[in-house]
C-alpha cells in the first residue's frame, strides 16, 4: 500500500468507523469461538491472484464458502505439508458440511510455484484446497493485508533459498469477513469454529 498520507488516514478512520458500526449492529450475535476472534480487526478477504488451473481468481469467487487462508510454498517439505494434512484431517471430521469450505493456499514463492506445481501440490492433500499464486506484488499486498510477513533469503547450499513465512491460518465466513485466527491451536478448536461458521456464522 503506497497511498499518500491523507487518504491513508481517511482509510484508517473509515475502517475504524466500519468496525464500530459493525460491532454496534452485531452486539450479542457473536459466536462462541474457541480460536482467536479477529472479527472487525482484520479486513475482508480481497485479492487478485491466479488459481491452480491458471485462471484469474478473486475473493468474490469464494463468496458462500467458509475460507481458510494459509501462506506457504511448495518447496517446504515439513511445516506446510503438515499444516495442509492437519487441515484436511479437520475437514474430514466435519463430514459433508465441509464441502462448503475452501482452503486457499497462497504461495509466497511465486517464482517457483507455477499454477501447475500448485495444482498437483494442493490436490495431494484435499480436493477442497485451491492453490493461489500471482505477481510478487499481488502476493505481498495480500500478505500485508493480514499482517502476515514473509522473507526470502539465500540458503547456504547455493541454488535454493529459504523462506520464513507466517504459520497462522485466517478463517473467513461465507461473506468474506475475517472471523478467527488459528495459530497452532488444538484441532478440535478449529473443527468447533468451522462448525459454527458453517451452520450460522454469516455476518452481513
Amino acid at each position: 500500500m503506497k497511498l499518500p498520507r491523507t487518504p491513508r488516514l481517511a482509510l484508517f478512520l473509515l475502517s475504524l468507523a466500519g468496525i464500530l458500526l459493525l460491532s454496534a449492529c452485531h452486539r450479542g450475535s457473536d459466536l462462541p469461538f474457541k480460536l482467536t476472534d479477529i472479527g472487525g480487526h482484520m479486513p475482508d478477504l480481497q485479492f487478485q491472484l491466479t488459481d491452480d488451473n491458471g485462471k484469474p481468481a478473486s475473493a468474490a469467487d469464494f463468496r458462500g464458502k467458509v475460507v481458510l487462508l494459509y501462506f506457504g510454498y511448495t518447496h517446504c517439505p515439513d511445516v506446510c505439508p503438515l499444516t495442509l494434512a492437519q487441515l484436511h484431517a479437520a475437514l474430514q471430521k466435519l463430514g459433508k458440511a465441509a464441502d462448503d469450505v475452501r482452503i486457499l493456499f497462497v504461495s509466497v514463492d511465486p517464482a517457483r510455484d507455477t499454477p501447475a506445481v500448485m495444482h498437483a501440490y494442493v490436490n495431494a492433500f484435499d480436493k477442497r484446497a485451491v492453490g493461489l499464486t500471482g505477481s510478487a506484488g499481488a502476493i505481498e499486498a495480500l500478505s500485508k493485508r493480514y499482517r502476515s510477513g514473509f522473507t526470502r533469503e539465500p540458503a547456504s547450499d547455493g541454488g535454493n533459498y529459504e523462506v520464513t513465512h507466517s504459520s497462522a491460518i485466517y478463517v473467513f465466513d461465507r461473506n468474506g469477513h475475517a472471523r478467527v485466527l488459528d495459530a497452532n491451536a488444538p484441532q478440535e478448536d478449529l473443527v468447533h469454529d468451522l462448525g459454527l461458521l458453517l451452520s450460522n456464522g454469516t455476518s452481513p
Binding site: T74, H75, C76, P77, D78, V79, P81, L82, L84, A85, Q86, H88, A89, V117, A120, Y121, N123, A124, F125, D126, G149, F150, A155, S156, D157, N160, E162, V163, T164, H165, S166, S167, A168, A183, N184
Partner: protein
C-alpha cells in the same frame, strides 16, 4: 505395520551388536512424498542404548541427490527452516525426527518415489557409526508412519 517396524528395529539392533559402545536403533521411519520433483521430509525415531551420547550428523541415500538435516521452528507466529549440523541423542534415550521439528530434507529424487515404496537411507553418527534404515514412503496427507 507395527510388527514390521519392530522386526526392522530388531534386525538393525542385531546388526550393531558388534559395535559395542554404540547401540543405535531406528523405528517409525517414513517419508512424506510430495508431487513432482518437490523435496520430501523424512522422519524417524532414534534410540541410543549406549552409555554415551551420540549425534546424528548426516544422511545419504541412493534414491535422492541430497539428504540434509533440518529443523523447523515456529516463533512469533512465523515458521522457518534451518540447517542443523548435529542432532544429539542422549545415552539410553531417544530423539525423534517428527513433522514440525527435526527432519531430513530429501532433494533431487533420482527416480519417482511413490507412496508404499521403501527408501533406504544411511544415517551417519559422530562416532563413525552408520545405520541403514528403511523408510516407508507415505502420501502427502499422512500424519505419521501409519494410519
Amino acid at each position: 505395520m507395527k510388527r514390521i517396524a519392530l522386526l526392522l528395529v530388531g534386525l538393525l539392533g542385531a546388526g550393531l551388536v558388534h559395535a559395542d559402545t554404540t547401540r543405535i536403533s531406528a523405528s517409525h521411519a517414513w517419508i512424506r512424498v510430495l508431487p513432482g520433483a518437490l523435496p520430501a521430509g523424512a522422519y524417524v525415531v532414534l534410540r541410543n542404548d549406549g552409555d554415551k551420547p551420540v549425534a546424528l550428523t548426516g544422511a545419504s541415500t541412493p534414491d535422492y541427490g541430497m539428504a540434509m538435516l533440518h529443523r523447523s521452528t515456529q516463533s512469533g507466529g512465523s515458521s522457518r527452516m534451518a540447517m542443523v549440523d548435529a542432532l544429539p541423542i542422549p545415552a539410553h534415550g531417544t530423539q525423534a525426527l517428527a513433522p514440525g521439528g527435526y527432519h531430513l530434507m530429501l532433494m533431487d529424487a533420482r527416480h519417482p518415489v511413490q507412496p508404499g515404496d521403501t527408501v533406504r537411507i544411511t544415517l551417519k553418527f559422530d562416532n563413525g557409526v552408520t545405520l541403514p534404515v528403511d523408510f516407508i514412503a507415505r502420501p502427502a496427507g499422512a500424519l505419521g508412519d501409519q494410519g
